[in-house]
């Protein structure tokens, strides 16, 4: 007979259904987080106003939101490329740091008075992009190689590689690249290597443009190019892929290389656009929040940009909230991760069909329904 909730064989995957479940999940996460605000004696409405007003309604906050969104978007894109190819890379903290370190080395090499001397920006930028992408790409590609050749578990190896990369950076900024002074950090990069600021009166820099271009390229790769198609097939079913003549191992290594490279670009954008020097603790969890952004964007490269902007904005708003209302900014970690957990849980709902007609029709349904149990 017809039930109110009927189980479907496959989940409803229309864009509307996906958008609805994602939005509902996010609202549910906001609802749960409201109780946390209440425990601080703050009205949830005022708290959310504070959280969203600064980044989305003030120019200065908007600029900062773009600054925070750029690395998040690039890491999310890396997540998409690797995860859709069936390579669960989780080493973005590490590839971020490696990309940042490579960029830092190049930027300090071109400082006035050093061995190479200043480079024009139109030469420096492509060089920095290639170097950051290649260095972090090879770093991650090694994990891909281990998985493809030796069958090692990429989830754990990439998680471990994060710590190794972070210690490498710690060594660099407290040893060979350290600036004279008390803090373990490099000297400030020469002004000529900074990414240009794009919005007058804010700190917003050209990194967001790099992220948008990257999103377009990733979309092209996955949707329009044979290589991307092969990578996705590898992700869906490596046995079918091998049967179809796709070199699965090589696709995995390539996916790892792209993922690491995009993570490295995130590091480059952060140091050339925002920090302008290398220091310990530069990644600060961005590698994991970037993965969360990708998940909330449902591994869709075009949805990454608005999602990264939302999460970047929330972290800016959280800092403002902590300054003004002394509510710890760590609450946003709770909001951000709950949203994704609820998305995972609410996805189960797409397996059900709702027959609202049951509610007002009393008579038993026609005999044809006997097929379903």
């Amino acid at each position: 007979m017809t039930r109110l909730f009927e189980r479907r064989l496959t989940p409803l995957d229309s864009p509307l259904a996906i958008f609805t479940t994602t939005t509902t999940a996010f609202l549910a996460a906001m609802l749960v987080t409201s109780f946390l605000f209440l425990s601080y004696g703050a009205s949830p409405f005022q708290a959310y106003f504070a959280l969203f007003h600064e980044p989305f309604a003030t120019l200065r906050g908007f600029g900062y939101a773009l600054v925070r969104a750029s690395p998040l978007a690039l890491i999310a894109l890396g997540t998409i490329v690797s995860w859709r190819s069936g390579f669960m890379y989780l080493g973005f903290e590490g590839s971020f740091v490696i990309g940042a370190a490579a960029t830092g080395w190049l930027a300090l090499l071109t400082a006035p008075g050093s061995r190479v001397g200043p480079l024009p920006f139109f030469l420096f930028l492509p060089l920095a992009i290639s170097l950051a992408f290649a260095a972090a790409g090879i770093w991650a590609g090694l994990v891909g190689l281990v998985r493809a050749r030796l069958g090692g578990n990429e989830v754990l190896i990439s998680l471990m590689s994060n710590y190794v990369a972070i210690f490498i950076l710690q060594y660099l900024v407290s040893g060979p690249m350290r600036a004279p002074g008390s803090l373990p950090e490099t000297p400030l990069f020469p002004r000529a290597t900074w990414l240009p600021f794009i919005l007058h009166g804010t700190r917003a820099h050209a990194g967001i443009l790099i992220a948008i271009i990257a999103a377009g390229l990733v979309w092209m790769l996955l949707q329009k190019m044979p290589l991307g198609y092969e990578m996705i097939v590898t992700g869906f079913n490596p046995f079918a892929a091998r049967y179809a003549g796709i070199d699965v191992g090589r696709r995995l290594v390539l996916a790892a290389f792209f993922a690491g490279g995009l993570g490295g670009l995130a590091g480059m954008v952060e140091v050339l656009g925002a920090q302008h020097r290398l220091m310990d603790g530069i990644s600060g969890g961005v590698g994991f929040v970037g993965i969360i952004v990708a998940l909330l964007a449902r591994l869709n490269p075009l949805a990454v940009i608005p999602t990264a902007f939302l999460y970047g904005g929330m972290s800016v708003g959280a800092d403002a909230m902590q300054r003004r209302a002394s509510i710890p900014s760590s609450i946003t970690f709770i909001l951000e991760s709950l949203a994704v957990l609820f998305v995972l849980a609410f996805d189960a709902l797409r397996y059900y069909k709702v027959n609202l007609s049951v509610l007002w029709r009393r008579s038993p349904p026609p005999v044809a329904e006997q097929v379903s149990k």
């Binding site: 946390l36 471990m160 060594y171 994991f288 609450i331 951000e336």
Partner: protein, 314 residues
């Protein structure tokens, strides 16, 4: 005995002692994780569970001063947190890596929010009651190995005991057989009358209890205070130790001590003042774990066959 000999024997004593001390919490977490993985669940969320356990035991010890109660609180918090994770892994059938990873971010948010709420913004870390190293008459007085092996806290010996208990449960009881069947071939286990769901819930909750206790271990027997970076990947290392130990509790104990030895090298070398950059030594345990699980030494074949694949009964 000349100076160099004295130095080297002192070095060995501190190194051995620190190796065992540092191996404790990771071994505890790895033992629990073995149950989860043998039931077919890769519980990446133990990293966050350890953090929650650490915070819970810190706060409990801070407010009550009773260390055993604090340890119990940590275990309970670990179990409660993993009820949610088990629901995600088993009932919702979410991707285990994704759910566990995102849970770790959630746990970080919860822990740092609660810690700041409880402690205010005082920068001075508060000290709490802790477990003290035992002194066993005669045994602890054996030169060289005495203080190292027989001078650990009671938690270390408890953990070693648990390794044997875990091995017994997994390989000598019906429960252990049903658990391993659920991770090896859930459909066959199901048709033999084993409730795969129940086994996987049990495995995940056991790993939660152990991870919570590992957090308590860290705080109550090693660090004595709480900070957000207290776990720093030890949960992930425990995952590596499970692989290195071939999903066997006793081998995991050996693997954990090897890891502890790498970790302790940095402490002991620092005390004796060498010129090796400290970061190189700090990275060593992670590098060793990577090599151990890279597949260079085999191991793919003994992994529970249904690990990471959710089971749908229909």
């Amino acid at each position: 005995m000349n100076g160099a000999q004295l130095l080297s024997s002192a070095f060995v004593v501190t190194w051995l002692s620190a190796s065992l001390r540092l191996a404790g919490p990771v071994l505890l977490a790895a033992l629990g994780e073995t149950f989860a993985e043998q039931s077919g669940v890769l519980n990446v969320g133990i990293e966050g569970t350890i953090l929650l356990g650490a915070l819970a035991s810190f706060l409990a010890s801070y407010y009550t001063g009773m260390i055993w109660v604090s340890l119990l609180v940590a275990v309970l918090v670990g179990i409660v947190a993993n009820i949610f994770l088990a629901w995600m892994y088993v009932t919702v059938r979410a991707s285990q890596v994704v759910a566990g990873l995102v849970f770790n971010v959630l746990a970080l948010g919860i822990a740092s929010t609660i810690y700041r709420r409880a402690m205010g913004n005082s920068a001075v870390p508060e000290s709490i009651a802790m477990f003290h190293p035992l002194h066993i008459r005669f045994l602890s007085d054996i030169p060289l190995i005495g203080p190292a092996i027989f001078g650990q806290t009671i938690l270390f010996y408890l953990t070693l005991l648990l390794a044997f208990v875990a091995h017994f449960i997994l390989y000598r009881t019906n429960f252990g057989l049903a658990l391993r069947a659920s991770g090896e071939n859930p459909a066959a286990a199901d048709s033999a009358g084993v409730s795969v769901y129940r086994m996987r819930y049990a495995g995940t909750l056991i790993s939660g209890a152990a991870a919570g206790m590992a957090g308590g271990y860290l705080v109550l027997a090693q660090v004595g205070l709480f900070r957000e970076s207290i776990v720093s990947g030890q949960g992930f290392i425990a995952l590596g130790i499970v692989i290195f130990g071939r999903w066997n509790p006793l081998k995991a104990a050996v693997a954990a001590i090897v890891f502890g030895a790498c970790d302790a090298l940095q402490l002991s070398l620092q005390i004796f003042g060498t010129h090796v950059p400290p970061q190189l030594l700090l990275a060593l345990p992670y590098v060793v774990t990577i090599l151990a699980i890279s597949g260079l030494f085999g191991g793919k074949a003994v992994q529970p066959a249904a690990l990471m694949s959710p089971y749908a009964k229909d």
